[in-house]
Symmetry: C2
Subunit: 459 residues, 2 copies
């Protein structure tokens, strides 16, 4: 092989520093999930194709990675499709498995399959990679992690309140102050559509409304007109476009707009409950904001809708989102399993922390001390000290070869190892260690005890 | 969908307890890897097919899961193969990617691809799943994790010494006392083959020898005869079959047998060095044993060969293994990258810990305290305490619904939650919490401070 090997487009290698930074985010999220009472599950990387296909729309189906059957897979190929050379039609006869596309459908499958072992209400979290045959672009990959937490088997609005606390906890722990947790409610959108006489065009209406930030009021109105929403209805929307201010004043405006819609009023009630409880409990660093234009995943969500945006000044799409659904598992024949869930966008959070310089300095700390190798006797003496250091949780190693001193010191420098220990005959005889602080450039002879405590103090 | 959904054969769902136990093992291994100076990398789940194909032999190639190309994949299908309906021949034209089969080939690819960014010697660890289309059977899965540590870019035997320390550290930390770290050296096997005049039959010879434990001396000899090794050579092997005793006495026997083989003597020297250093450094709970029949992965290994077996009395294959290789990256055009690596068998270690009851009791501890939900006012009061508990790292939650008390208590019982807190009007007024220790069945009224300290003490 003459060419340097490469990896498939849209995939990534992670070097030690990147892994350490990613793990810092994962561990923070996982720690918060656990203090909030969520429990981990894991599902296989690939599922039976019929578990996944047809759950994400036609576009989703196309983006699912299919796994070719093993062995003589053509022997079972659909003959008609084969003769017609119809890729689409052939697939299901030569591929029975597919890589998971998200964590929600596998979770639904898990709940149905294990319903008799699960104690409901069930709060699960899941942090695993998913795969999508999307066109790769900046910040969009073919393999990426999802970090999901869901609580199923209860309608209680306390869970929405809890998820807001959870977002606040995670982003505060990451020192990412000032994120905005945007909230809306499907019932508000339904109510508005009802009021303007566009109940049958709820999706068109919300898709247009969702673009308000991006394309502005006039273009949103035009799109609604184009979709067949009457001008009279759009006129009634005017107060909506001018809704401003804090949560409470927005609620007051909505009460006026939605006074004739039972569903709309229910939505207002839910939002008010969540807002009140959140005010009582307080948020550490995040703020909660009502955003009546928020409509993500509307086909799916039936109550609260969440989206988290990065602190002002950081250009980045949403770094988290979620919502309440009435029917997680109906697709697998188990009706009425309602719940609410949120997700964290690992890759985007990573980019934001990087941009703002928020990764702790110690996050990619690898080896804390390197022992220079001066030969067999010295190496053995060193390894005894290294063993003691490791027992104290210090990351320590011996340079494996008796190379030139300069080469070994350069190695320590290139790897940003903060301490180097030099052990020669004199040190062995006096049972001491020459400890060099690489940053300060200071070297001193110390006992094993002082060696350990000095290095531990710095780490 | 009428039928309950299922998962592909050979794959597994993991419930919260299983995830917690697996993470306990992962974290222990990872912690040891890091104190020993290994750094994490991660590679994509799928690689370009030409990175993987042809690296594991014909059988390996068959067991690699191939990913079907997206879109109209048949438009690029090899015409001849298509017309002949030859699955094997067709594959490469309709599938460009494949799931990784192990972590070694991706690591080799990584080293070559990133050689200019890597500071050698490079010690990396990698804990990720791999996939094999093997026939599933007890303890063998189609998706499973590998936990590998390798040190490349140095010939130093100190690394072998270090890997033995690493095995000892991990199994001691897991409280799995009494594992045996078996060691051999390819040069010993080559030397023996040379001495008995079967240098050209090294693989046949070692494959037969490797079966000594399973099929016994006579059958091993018969197999060697069948493979064309002369009786005179097999006679010379006799001392080998009767090699017994500790490391030093085995070394002495080998010195006699291999006195005429330069390569054999080099192997003895290496083994003696490793044994001496290990004796000097000591092992916490493992023991090191020379096993001249050990030959795993011989095609690959050029020096030390390791295998770890579970403590006596536990029926289980090897729970770890590894060895030294001269040429990790030659397959990708980068010669002379020598190194040594070991692997931990997660699934088997799990089974052994389970069998011996060695998982710590707290490993699957999930929620430590559940607050009973008596209504809105009580729930809000409770959530304030829950927030304080979580800030102290306690896993706490509120039952989401105002259900019957009995139902909520049953929920706590079924989930083995050790503490339950009951907050009614009286508690709110006196700013106290009724804390019930579910195990002892004792209930007492306490302040928030005592509530926190009591629960923390037990966890």
């Amino acid at each position: 092989m003459a060419q340097k090997p490469s990896i498939p487009k849209g995939t990534r290698d992670f070097n030690p520093e990147q892994v350490a930074k990613r793990n810092y985010i994962f561990n923070t999220i996982q720690g918060a999930f656990e203090t909030f009472g969520f429990q981990p599950i894991e599902t296989p990387s690939f599922e039976n194709s019929d578990t996944l296909m047809g759950k994400y729309g036609d576009e989703g189906d196309r983006l699912i990675f299919k796994i070719l059957n093993s062995g003589d897979y053509l022997s079972k190929a659909d003959e008609e499709a084969y003769n017609e050379k119809d890729s689409n039609k052939l697939t299901s006869s030569i591929s029975e498995k597919a890589l998971r596309y998200d964590l929600t459908v596998p979770f639904a499958r898990y709940v149905v399959q294990h319903q008799n072992e699960i104690e409901f209400p069930f709060k699960r979290y899941q942090i695993q990679p998913v795969w999508r045959a999307d066109r790769p672009q900046k910040g969009r990959f073919r393999e990426f992690y999802q970090c999901d937490a869901d609580a199923v088997g209860s309608d209680s609005l306390w869970q929405e309140v809890e998820f807001i606390q959870l977002y606040d906890s995670v982003f505060s722990a990451l020192k990412l102050d000032g994120v905005t947790i945007k909230i809306n409610n499907r019932k508000i959108l339904s109510g508005i559509a009802e009021v303007i006489g566009a109940s049958d065009k709820l999706i068109d209406f919300t898709v247009a409304l969702d673009k308000l930030d991006k394309i502005g009021e006039e273009k949103v109105k035009q799109e609604m007109l184009d979709k067949g929403i009457p001008q009279s209805g759009i006129d009634k929307l005017q107060p909506l476009f001018s809704i401003k201010g804090d949560f409470e004043s927005q609620i007051r405006s909505l009460k006026t707009i939605l006074s004739t819609s039972e569903e709309g009023k229910k939505g207002i009630e839910e939002l008010a409950f969540i807002d009140n409880a959140t005010s009582e409990l307080g948020l550490k660093t995040a703020k909660l904001q009502l955003d009546v234009t928020l409509a993500r995943g509307l086909n799916y969500y039936t109550g609260a809708i969440f989206e988290v945006s990065a602190p002002e000044g950081v250009k980045m799409g949403s770094i988290g989102g979620g919502g309440r659904y009435d029917d997680l598992t109906g697709i697998f024949g188990m009706p009425n399993m309602s719940g609410v869930g949120i997700s964290f966008g690992l890759d985007r959070i990573y980019l934001v922390l990087e941009e703002l310089g928020l990764f702790p300095e110690t996050v990619s700390k690898s080896v804390e001390v390197l022992f220079i190798n001066f030969g067999e006797k010295e190496a053995l003496f060193s390894l005894k000290a290294i063993k003691a250091l490791r027992a104290e949780g210090v990351n320590a190693e011996l340079y494996p070869d008796k190379a030139k001193m300069k080469k070994q010191m350069t190695h320590a420098n290139r790897r940003d190892i903060p301490f180097v220990v030099l052990v020669g005959e004199e040190e062995i005889n006096s049972n001491k260690y020459a400890l060099k602080d690489m940053e300060k450039g200071i070297q001193e002879k110390v006992s094993l005890e002082v060696l350990i405590s000095t290095i531990k103090k710095k780490s």
